[in-house]
């Protein structure tokens, strides 16, 4: 494997990485908004419920960034990148399967809806959001071939994933909740993440075959 072929093949996968970063940005915000819906029957929809959800999302993303950045140091590849998406898809499933049971138990255990909603948010959203947070720095690593251009590439990546977040917020709050049930939306998101994983892993395997 020579350096020029590596950079050429990575370059060809750039649109895919950007597209997948867009998808993860979209889904992070869609899940965050649905979080309000999921918690409302148990904790209401007061400002502190949103406070809990946003706190947990910010916290999970920040930790995800840290871990994703670390992981990008060791043999970054589209294969591993795809595993993040697969993991995120699986980690969304407890929201559909067990959220009511978890909230039922915590509603009884914790009387104060502020701490009840905070603990529930941690249990439900921490893992999937942290994993989706890992995607951003890892994407930067996959895209950067020339350190001089790293700022430019990071900018393009943030642009893409944050645009995804903006559209995920808009689509969910304006339309998706009007057309579909919460669980239908969540399952669709998990399915999209699984397809994203397949795309990344498939592309990764093809590149490996070409260059290897």
């Amino acid at each position: 494997m020579n350096p020029s072929s590596t950079s050429a093949s990575l370059f060809s996968s750039n649109p895919i990485v950007l597209c997948l970063a867009f998808v993860s940005g979209f889904i992070i915000m869609a899940v965050e908004l649905l979080g309000g819906r999921i918690l409302a029957p148990y904790f209401g929809s007061s400002i502190y419920v949103w406070g809990s959800i946003i706190t947990v999302f910010m916290l999970s993303l920040s930790i995800g960034y840290l871990i994703g950045g670390r992981l990008s140091l060791q043999q970054p590849s589209l294969l591993r990148y795809g595993v993040f998406f697969a993991a995120a898809a699986v980690l969304l499933l407890p929201l559909v399967l067990w959220s009511n049971a978890i909230m039922e138990a915590l509603f009884v255990a914790i009387e104060d809806p502020r701490y009840g909603s905070l603990v529930v948010s941690l249990l439900l959203f921490f893992l999937p959001t942290a994993v989706m947070g890992m995607i951003a720095p890892y994407s930067v690593r996959l895209l950067v071939v020339d350190s001089n251009r790293s700022g430019h590439i990071a900018g393009t990546l943030y642009f893409t994933s944050t645009l995804g977040s903006a559209l995920g917020t808009l689509a969910t709050s304006f339309y998706l909740v009007l057309w579909f049930e919460v669980n239908q939306i969540l399952l669709t998101m998990a399915l999209i993440l699984a397809l994203a994983a397949a795309l990344a892993i498939g592309t990764g395997l093809r590149l490996a075959r070409k260059t290897g």
């Binding site: 819906r37 409302a40 029957p41 148990y42 904790f43 209401g44 929809s45 007061s46 400002i47 509603f107 009884v108 009387e111 809806p113 304006f174 909740v177 009007l178 579909f180 049930e181 919460v182 669980n183 239908q184």
Partner: protein
């Protein structure tokens, strides 16, 4: 002339708003108190005849939450309160009452006057509303009347776990610009139903227009079976009455009017108007989806 202009202004207001329709105002409107709470702006306004609580600064005519006349605190300003009282024809003597949404405390005043022995609990999410009701509308806590600053969904669920029972639950939390969507779902109504004894009744002050009218009607029907739908001209509100018992027929309602009239006359109410308005028939779109915790776009449906 002024009245007809005003009626026109009212008619042209967004019909989706649930605020009680204001009646003709007299004199200059003064704002005597204004504060911003966690949830809304609260204004107290006065004109020559009455004092009102409202939750928004714009749209000064349509958004009164609660009003009362200076000269007669019993006299009900808005049709919706009278429509709620019409439910006395269905259930005559509630002794444990839960009211969701305090506002200016009109319903608390009315029910505590009618039933001085009744235990009245109010779930009001906004502490500031309770403060304003105390300061400007003579709302008072007593050994029998107390309010909890709590989201009604949380309160109802907890009371259900504790096995609390209420003969009458009045849902009066749906006003104006934002509807608490988690208080409109079938699951919430099931939780409310758990609080009702065999003779219990729910009375909800809600919406009479938009797709939400149909969605909500279908939701109540799914949970309670038959409902009375009470609509009146000149108001954007409608009242739903649902009971654990079979609803009485027209003749039974009529037979209860005269005894009740003596008790509600002081509220400037004519009970004989209402048997004809308690309607079991569906005049809405039966195909509109039932609202659930999974599907609760009440605000979007109300656009």
């Amino acid at each position: 002339m002024f009245r007809s202009l005003f009626a026109f202004a009212l008619a042209s207001l967004s019909l989706g708003l649930l605020a009680p329709a204001a009646q003709a105002q007299s004199g200059v409107l003064r704002t005597v108190h204004q504060e911003r709470s966690l949830y809304r702006n609260i204004l107290v306004t006065e004109d020559d005849e009455r004092r009102c609580m409202r939750f928004t600064i714009t749209d000064l005519n349509g958004q009164n939450q609660s009003c009362r006349f200076y000269d007669d605190h019993d006299k009900l300003v808005f049709p919706y309160a009278k429509m709620v009282l019409a439910s006395l024809m269905v259930q005559e003597r509630p002794t444990r009452i839960l009211i969701v949404g305090l506002g200016g405390g009109t319903l608390v005043h009315t029910y505590s006057t009618l039933f001085p022995e009744a235990n009245i609990t109010i779930a009001e999410i906004d502490e500031a509303v309770v403060g304003v009701a105390k300061q400007f509308f003579d709302y008072q806590e007593t050994p029998l009347i107390h309010s909890e600053t709590v989201d009604a969904r949380v309160f109802v669920k907890r009371q259900g776990l504790r096995g609390a029972q209420y003969d009458l639950v009045i849902l009066d939390a749906f006003n104006g610009e934002y509807i608490p969507e988690h208080l409109m779902t079938a699951e919430f109504l099931e939780e409310v139903k758990k609080l009702l004894p065999e003779t219990g009744m729910v009375v909800a002050n809600t919406f009479s227009t938009s797709r939400l009218y149909s969605a909500e009607s279908n939701t109540y029907r799914q949970v309670f079976g038959e409902i009375f739908n009470v609509r009146m001209e000149g108001t954007g509100n409608r009242i739903i009455i649902a009971s654990q018992q079979p609803l009485p027929d027209r003749a039974t309602l009529e037979s209860r009017v005269s005894a009740l009239q003596a008790r509600v006359a002081r509220f400037d109410m004519d009970m004989s108007e209402f048997p004809a308005l308690l309607n079991k028939n569906a005049d809405w779109d039966l195909r509109e989806r039932v609202l659930t915790d999974q599907y609760a776009p009440a605000n979007l449906l109300n656009n």
